[in-house]
Symmetry: C2
Subunit: 492 residues, 2 copies
């Protein structure tokens, strides 16, 4: 692909000034327009070392109001980032609605540096492309604009620039042995980058290769593509964008019903269950230690009917985990900060560190349960969510080598009623029962269908659903612990 670009292209000073001034003005206006339209924008600047990434970034932000963008200089991962799945550090940096996030180098450079600089890169490349495609498509589907630039120079030009930098005391420190090493392997990396770019070039996140030998020409090209692209998207009305999103909607994952029963648990006595807990507890202690030492993260999702006993179940389960190695994340409606982001953002932010557990008390499945039923998101959005969630979970499992189990706490409608009444009569538990619980109960049938669909469409080999029969809470606690152990052991 690279061969078709003419690296000798230049622009003279007069033409440059004439061309660039109106583009700068248009970009400044666009920033405000996009802010008013609440559209998040992601601009990626990639390229060969010394091709002018910093310079181009500086030029772009000259036209922007600094209060409305964030510049992310992507470099080696820090401790926190290294302890999470590869894409985590980029997910956490996606812009909120109406803001611009510039990435001077990005997931592409990092994938190249961290994942592809080794033998067998062809196979890894495919995985990385898949990971990145999911990330960009999901953001685009939620309304973000993504545009990507690759600054292209020849090997000879790169050499000249590196030597020039070495001569300048202010920049000499930038030219590390690693940079030279990369330079000497220009031809090795060329086909990898070529394939990488080709496979991640899409209508929702297009690449623009910039001939960057002439610095002014490069700036002019970046500006023109950027302004053109943003103007096109800003012009599309919200309705247009919604329609486009609908068109992009891909078929939902296949449906494999997951049976639910709640009463199966009734026959176990409290004593039997406590005996079992005692022995499982010892297994869990050892397992916890091994997961920690091997830096394997583990996610446990709790969903279930109101009054199914999520709180009590979580409290008991948590007792068997090293308290310094887990977090419980109570999930309710997104706050105003969170709702300015992609709906998965607030969950991904709290991914467990390597070797830790994260217990989500309710989760991203709210999208296809309460948000679906209460109309907090559009039908297209929750329809799309099944696949998005599967992709997210798959990416987490593959890139962290961690585990995930999802518990559905099932109780019968009668049992729920019984518990609601008990709660109302117990002064210590009254706080647990609200008007909303009664309203939700009236929508039992709607939820019932949504739960069936959720289980059927998101029960995957890498992130299975486990139905916890919870009419008997003792049994439910034993089963939860047993299933965590069973699934975590598979990772060893």
């Amino acid at each position: 692909m690279f061969e078709k670009y003419d690296l000798t292209k230049t622009i003279d000073e007069t033409n440059f000034e004439k061309a660039i001034t109106p583009l700068k003005q248009r970009l400044a206006i666009l920033q405000r327009t996009l802010r008013d339209l609440n559209i998040p924008v992601i601009i990626v600047i990639e390229g060969w070392n010394a091709a002018g990434i910093t310079m181009s970034t500086k030029e772009i932000i000259q036209s922007l109001d600094p209060r409305g963008f964030t510049l992310n200089a992507t470099d080696n991962a820090n401790d926190e980032e290294r302890a999470r799945p590869f894409m985590w550090r980029f997910w956490t940096k996606t812009p909120s609605k109406g803001r611009i996030a510039l990435f001077a180098r990005s997931w592409y450079s990092r994938a190249l540096a961290e994942k592809l600089s080794r033998i067998g890169w062809k196979k890894t490349l495919k995985e990385e492309i898949n990971s990145i495609t999911v990330f960009e498509r999901q953001l685009s589907d939620s309304g973000a604009i993504i545009i990507k630039f690759f600054l292209h120079i020849s090997k000879e030009e790169q050499k000249l620039r590196l030597l020039e930098r070495e001569r300048n005391p202010l920049t000499a420190w930038l030219v590390t042995p690693r940079i030279w090493d990369f330079h000497h392997n220009y031809e090795t990396y060329l086909p990898i980058i070529d394939e990488f770019i080709e496979k991640t070039d899409s209508d929702y996140a297009p690449w623009h290769i910039i001939e960057a030998t002439d610095r002014k020409y490069a700036i002019f090209k970046v500006y023109s593509y950027l302004v053109k692209h943003l103007e096109k998207h800003a012009a599309a009305t919200t309705e247009d964008r919604a329609r486009k999103a609908r068109q992009k909607t891909i078929s939902r994952p296949p449906k494999n019903p997951v049976p639910r029963r709640s009463s199966a648990s009734k026959s176990y006595s409290k004593e039997e269950c406590q005996d079992q807990l005692a022995s499982l507890q010892i297994e869990m202690l050892e397992l916890n230690y091994i997961l920690f030492k091997r830096k394997i993260p583990f996610i446990i999702v709790y969903e279930g009917w109101d009054a199914a006993g999520k709180g009590g179940n979580i409290t008991r389960l948590a007792r068997y985990i090293n308290p310094l190695g887990y977090n419980v994340l109570p999930v309710s409606a997104p706050n105003d900060y969170e709702s300015q982001h992609h709906y998965l953002w607030r969950f991904i932010r709290h991914y467990p560190k390597a070797g830790h557990f994260a217990i989500y008390d309710r989760s991203w499945y709210g999208r296809v349960l309460v948000e679906r039923i209460e109309g907090y998101c559009s039908e297209a959005e929750w329809q799309r969510a099944y696949q998005e969630i599967n992709e997210m979970e798959q990416d987490y499992v593959e890139s962290s080598r961690g585990g995930i189990v999802k518990f559905w706490l099932e109780i019968s409608r009668e049992e729920q009623l019984k518990r609601f009444h008990q709660r109302e009569q117990d002064p210590l538990k009254q706080y647990k029962i609200t008007e909303e619980d009664w309203r939700n109960r009236e929508k039992w049938d709607l939820y019932d269908a949504a739960v069936d669909e959720m289980l059927a469409r998101t029960n995957t080999p890498y992130a299975p659903w486990i139905v916890i029969e919870s009419d008997n809470k003792w049994y439910a606690r034993v089963k939860a612990l047993r299933e965590v152990i069973r699934h975590a052991e598979k990772l060893l």
Copy 2:
């Protein structure tokens, strides 16, 4: 102080069970009460190595709803933390209203490990005590409950426990050479810890020394102090707590008027200013590089009248800073997430990394400007804020060895009116002028007095206010750049 504790104290199994069960129930109820009262709680567990910090923590959280607390296992700082002032990592982990933050080890252990394990600790200790006192007092003044435990065992007991841990393959890895080293220096650390505890023991953040030789006795003591302390505070009504906060209010910092004029700038022409900018720009380039290499952070605060030109001034100033080394933080009303925390929390979170600039477009001074005038906080709160802010800035400067300048952009009342009208007439600038701007303008005199008081009370040698005469925006831009250079140079 340590000598007065009797390390031979024990409790027998029967008494323990009888005592602990009701305490556990009371703690569980207290957690809900404190949540309903919106009170944040901080529990610190410190102690000698192997004294039972993890065990005590585990015991406490057994009684807590895991959805309402966060456990912070304090260990070595990570990259992000190391690049910020010492207390930053703890500020960012303070609990939101109604939540409990447990610290298994805390700022005390870290200060000891990072600051006091060296010759000359006496002087450092004084600084650390001051830093910590400010932190705890400010949190307490805003309504947080803080309680601290130190688990005390003898050197002999410690040795027995470390040997026991070494024999167990599951815990042997915990006993590092550093731990043994610490053990051998038990007598060296004893007086340091003694002084540290004595000087940081206060009515708002009391220490409890726990005789921890007998594990059950230690748990019983921790539980009883904790429950007693929390019950006392939960019983105090909101009104009581507010009154107490008022009593604690300390005298306001001295008042040294800072003159403001706006017109002084009028005589400079645009061309003169641009000439000066060109030469300052070169100085700034070099300065920026040195600050970066020496890892010195720098904060620039912008405050000023509406239409004084903050946005334009920031945009121009930012152009002279390496774009990968600064962040502009636009500050508006706190969102619902931020307002669940101490009012300084959201600013401290965004402290610049070592070697970076942070530009705050409006800042914590909102407390004594808009929040004061619009009544968003109580009089006691904004009165207290002058000292709190001075303390915060001093702590930042001392612990990061960084710099801070604060710009007040001054324009005359007439100039503001002129600019409001200009904005209304310019289609590109109309968005900048709102009803609120006109309403604020009507309160000019109130703001005028508040600005005078703010400048006078918070103009300190370590964090000076610079009045930028901004009737002439060209002059204002030159002055801002010049002052940044002047103050940053002092740090070299």
